[in-house]
C-alpha cells in the first residue's frame, strides 16, 4: 500500500466518477418502442430510482416516460449532466460525443454496436475514431457494444437489461454483458449486494483493467469480480490487478480457456507455455482468486466482501445433524483449508454450553440436543477462539422446514402447533442473527450452508442471512470454496 500513489500516477488512472457517480444522465437516442435499448435504459434509470437529473434526446422531441425529450445532446443545459448513455447508430455517435463534451459531459457509455466487432472496415474506423475522441474530448468512454452499468450508491441502473441488484459491496466488471447480469442475478438471489457493475463491451477505450484499477480505490467496493476473455495489454493488466489486490480482493473468471490451439508434443517451455497456464500463473502472482464460473466467483466474492480474510486454514464446523459434517470434511480434505483439531480449552468451554452427548470433536455435532441458546452461544464461543480461523454452520433451517409442513397440514390448528412452529422459525432466525453478530464480533468468518437457500429461500434461516446481506451457500462444497478464497486472501495479505 506504500507504493500506491506512485503506481496510480504511473498508470495514469482515468477518473471514472462521472461514469459511476454522475450528477445528471442523458439518454441519447431514447425510443418510444419498449423493445428498443433507448426505451429500456431510460425506463430502468427512472424506475430504479436514480436521484440525479435525467435528460433524453430523440430526433422528434416529444415526451417519453414523463421526460421532455431534447432534439440534441447539445441542448442539455451546460454542467447539468456528467454521463451520456448512447443508443444512436454508430455513424452518429461521434457527433453525440462532441455535443456532450460541449455541455460539460465527461463520461459516455456507448451501447450501440457497429464498431468493428463484426470485423467490418467501416465499423473498425468508427472504433478508431472513439479512441481519438476520448483523447481529444478528455472523456471516459465505456463500451461500445455493451449493456450498460449499475451503480447502487447512485441508485443508477443505466442498462437496457435487468436486474437492478440490491446494494452491497461487490463490484462487477465483465467483458460479457450477460455474465455481468449473471453475477447480479446471484447478488439478487443471495442478498449480498452490488456496488458497481459494468459491461465493458468492446473495451475500445476503457478496458477491464481501467475499471478494476478505479474500483480498487472506490470506497463503496469491498470485492471485485471480473469476467475476462482477453486483455489488450497483458503487462498493464498484471500491474493493475496486482495493485488492486493490495486494496481489495479480486476474483476472476477467465473465458476461452479451452481454445488453446494445437501444440507440439514436447516438454519444453515454449510448448508448455499455453496462454491459459501463463494467465493462471499471472493471476496467482497478482493475488487474484480464480473461479471456474460466475456462480462460484460470486460465491467467493460474497464471502470476501462480507467477511474478514482468514488468518489460517483452521475451520470448525457446527452442525445439528451428522451426514453433512462428514461430506464437508471430505470436501475440505481436497482444499487448502482444514477441519481443525479442537484445542482443549475450546472443548472445555463447549462442554459448558452443549448438551452432554455432543460429538466432543470437530465436526461439533450437537446431536439434536440443543435448547434455545445452545447454537448462538456455541457460535460465539467458537468464533472468538484465537485458533479458529473460520466457522461453518450446517443444519440451519431444518426446524423451519418442519414447521412449514405442520403449518400446511390439516392439523395446523392443533393445540400448540402454532406456538411450536413459531419457536422453530424464531430459532432459525436466531441462528442466522448469531452468525452475523458472532462473525462481526470476533472478526472470524462464519459461513452457512444449506440447500434450503435454494429449495426454500423464504425459510427463516437463509432469509434472515439474506436480509443481513450475508451469503448462504447451497452446498458444503460451495462453502469450502469460499473458505479457500478467504484463506488465500489472508495469505496474500500476509495475515496475521
Amino acid at each position: 500500500m506504500t507504493s500506491d500513489k506512485q503506481l496510480t500516477s504511473d498508470l495514469q488512472r482515468l477518473p471514472l466518477e462521472p461514469l459511476f457517480e454522475p450528477a445528471g444522465v442523458v439518454v441519447a437516442g431514447a425510443s418510444s418502442h419498449p423493445g428498443k435499448f433507448g426505451f429500456a435504459v431510460l425506463h430502468n434509470i427512472i424506475t430504479c430510482g436514480y436521484q440525479g437529473r435525467i435528460f433524453a434526446t430523440n430526433r422528434n422531441g416529444g415526451t417519453l416516460l414523463g421526460i421532455d425529450c431534447l432534439t440534441s445532446v447539445a441542448d442539455v443545459p451546460a454542467g447539468q449532466a456528467d454521463l451520456v448513455y448512447v443508443c444512436v447508430p454508430a455513424s452518429a455517435v461521434a457527433d453525440v460525443l462532441r455535443d456532450a463534451a460541449s455541455v460539460g459531459i465527461r463520461a459516455a457509455f456507448i451501447a450501440s454496436s457497429g464498431f468493428g466487432e463484426g470485423n467490418d472496415e467501416a465499423g473498425a474506423a468508427y472504433g478508431a475514431e472513439l479512441v481519438v475522441l476520448a483523447e481529444e474530448l478528455g472523456m471516459a468512454i465505456a463500451g461500445p457494444n455493451g449493456q450498460g452499468l449499475v451503480s447502487t450508491p447512485a441508485s443508477l441502473c443505466a442498462q437496457f437489461v435487468g436486474p437492478f441488484p440490491p446494494a452491497g459491496g461487490v463490484s462487477i466488471v465483465s467483458q460479457s454483458g450477460n455474465l455481468a447480469s449473471g453475477a447480479m442475478n446471484y447478488a439478487a438471489a443471495s442478498g449480498v449486494g452490488v456496488a458497481r457493475a459494468i459491461s465493458a463491451g468492446n473495451a475500445t477505450c476503457l478496458g477491464v483493467d481501467d475499471y478494476i484499477g478505479w474500483l480498487a480505490d472506490d470506497p463503496a467496493t469491498t470485492a471485485i469480480v471480473a469476467y475476462i476473455e482477453g486483455v489488450a495489454d497483458a503487462r498493464r493488466f498484471f500491474e493493475t490487478v496486482k495493485r488492486a489486490t493490495t486494496h481489495k480482493p479480486v476474483v476472476v473468471v477467465k473465458g476461452g480457456t479451452s481454445d488453446e490451439g494445437a501444440r507440439a508434443a514436447a516438454s519444453h517451455t515454449g510448448s508448455l507455455a499455453t496462454n491459459d497456464r501463463i494467465f493462471d500463473g499471472m493471476l496467482r502472482q497478482a493475488g487474484v482468486w480464480r473461479s471456474p464460473d460466475i456462480g462460484a466467483a460470486f460465491g467467493a466474492a460474497a464471502a470476501l466482501a462480507v467477511h474478514e480474510p482468514m488468518r489460517g486454514p483452521n475451520v470448525a464446523f457446527l452442525t445439528t445433524a451428522g451426514g453433512w459434517g462428514v461430506l464437508t470434511a471430505d470436501a475440505m480434505a481436497d482444499s487448502p483449508v482444514r477441519l481443525m483439531d479442537l484445542p482443549d480449552d475450546l472443548m472445555d468451554s463447549l462442554d459448558q454450553v452443549l448438551p452432554p452427548r455432543w460429538s466432543k470433536g470437530n465436526p461439533i455435532d450437537v446431536a439434536g440436543g440443543e435448547t434455545r441458546d445452545t447454537i448462538p452461544d456455541a457460535l460465539h464461543l467458537i468464533a472468538a477462539h484465537p485458533s479458529v480461523d473460520g466457522v461453518l454452520m450446517l443444519g440451519m433451517g431444518i426446524q423451519s422446514n418442519t414447521a412449514a409442513l405442520m403449518r400446511r397440514g390439516q392439523f395446523s390448528d392443533f393445540e400448540d402447533i402454532d406456538r411450536i412452529c413459531s419457536f422453530h422459525e424464531r430459532q432459525d432466525r436466531r441462528y442466522a442473527e448469531a452468525i452475523v453478530e458472532a462473525s462481526a464480533a470476533a472478526g472470524t468468518p462464519i459461513l452457512a450452508a444449506t440447500e434450503l437457500a435454494l429449495s426454500n429461500p423464504e425459510n427463516p434461516g437463509p432469509a434472515t442471512l439474506r436480509e443481513h446481506g450475508h451469503p448462504c451457500y447451497t452446498s458444503p462444497a460451495e462453502a469450502v470454496a469460499a473458505f479457500s478464497a478467504l484463506y488465500a486472501r489472508g495469505k496474500h495479505l500476509r495475515l496475521p
Partner: protein, 214 residues
C-alpha cells in the same frame, strides 16, 4: 533468427546466476575424454555438444552409465563419428552419472504477450501426460517464486519419496531463480530450458541446459 548455445556454454552462462550444475569437463578428443573420466570416476556420462546441437536425445548423442575407460573411449569415438558438417564445431562433455528417481523441468520464455515468464514443472517420462507446470511473470520476488512449488498439482513429488529425503526447496528454487535472473539480466536470451533437473538425495542438479538467443 534464434540461435542456441551448446549445453556446456548454456550451463556456464547459467552457473554464473547460481544454477547448480555438476563438475563437468568439455574435451575435444576421445583420449582426453578418458583422462577426464578416469579423473572424475565411474560411472559417467558422455554427450556430444555444439552450438548447433539443440536436441541431443532425439539424435542419440548421449551415452549413459559408462563404467570403464574402454566404454568411454568407444562411446567418444562413436559420438565424434556422429557429428555432421551442419553441426559445426563440436566437443565432448564428460559428466558424473547421477542416479535420480525424480525429475523437474524449469524454463523461461519471452515470446508471449506477457513478456518474460519463468516455468517449473514435473519432468520425466510422464511430463507430457501430466502437464503439471506453473508459470510466473518476470521479474518475480522470492515469495512469488516459492509459491510456484505450492501450485504444482503433484505435491507428492516434493515430499519424501521411495526412501529419498524431501526435495530441498531452496535448492530447487535456486534453479528457478538462476533462470529468472538470467532472463532479466540478458535481454538477448529468448528462452531457457533446463530439462531435466534431477533430484538426487533431495538436491536439485541441472543435468541439461539449453539457452536460445534472440
Amino acid at each position: 533468427m534464434t540461435t542456441t548455445l551448446s549445453e556446456a556454454e548454456s550451463k556456464r552462462l547459467l552457473a554464473g546466476y547460481g544454477l547448480p550444475v555438476l563438475d563437468e569437463r568439455t574435451v575435444a578428443t576421445a583420449a582426453a575424454a578418458v583422462v577426464a573420466a578416469d579423473d572424475m570416476g565411474y560411472p559417467c556420462v558422455l554427450k556430444l555438444c555444439g552450438d548447433a546441437i539443440a536436441h541431443k536425445t532425439e539424435r542419440n548423442l548421449v551415452r549413459l552409465s559408462l563404467g570403464t575407460s574402454a566404454d568411454v573411449e568407444r562411446s567418444a569415438q562413436e559420438l565424434l563419428g556422429q557429428a555432421t558438417t551442419a553441426d559445426g564445431p563440436v566437443e565432448l562433455l564428460v559428466a558424473p552419472m547421477i542416479r535420480a528417481t525424480r525429475e523437474f523441468i524449469v524454463g523461461a520464455d519471452r515470446s508471449g504477450e506477457f513478456g518474460p515468464v519463468v516455468m517449473i514443472g514435473v519432468g520425466g517420462i510422464f511430463a507430457e501426460v501430466l502437464e503439471d507446470v506453473v508459470f510466473r511473470l518476470l521479474p518475480a520476488d522470492e515469495r512469488e517464486l516459492d509459491a510456484m512449488l505450492d501450485d504444482l498439482d503433484t505435491q507428492a513429488m516434493l515430499g519424501e519419496f521411495r526412501g529419498e529425503p524431501a526435495v530441498d526447496r531452496a535448492q530447487l528454487l535456486a534453479v528457478v531463480q538462476a533462470v529468472g535472473n538470467a532472463m532479466i539480466d540478458r535481454h538477448d536470451i529468448e528462452s531457457i530450458d533446463i530439462n531435466p533437473v534431477l533430484i538426487a538425495d533431495g538436491n536439485a542438479i541441472a543435468v541439461d541446459a539449453l539457452v536460445a538467443l534472440v
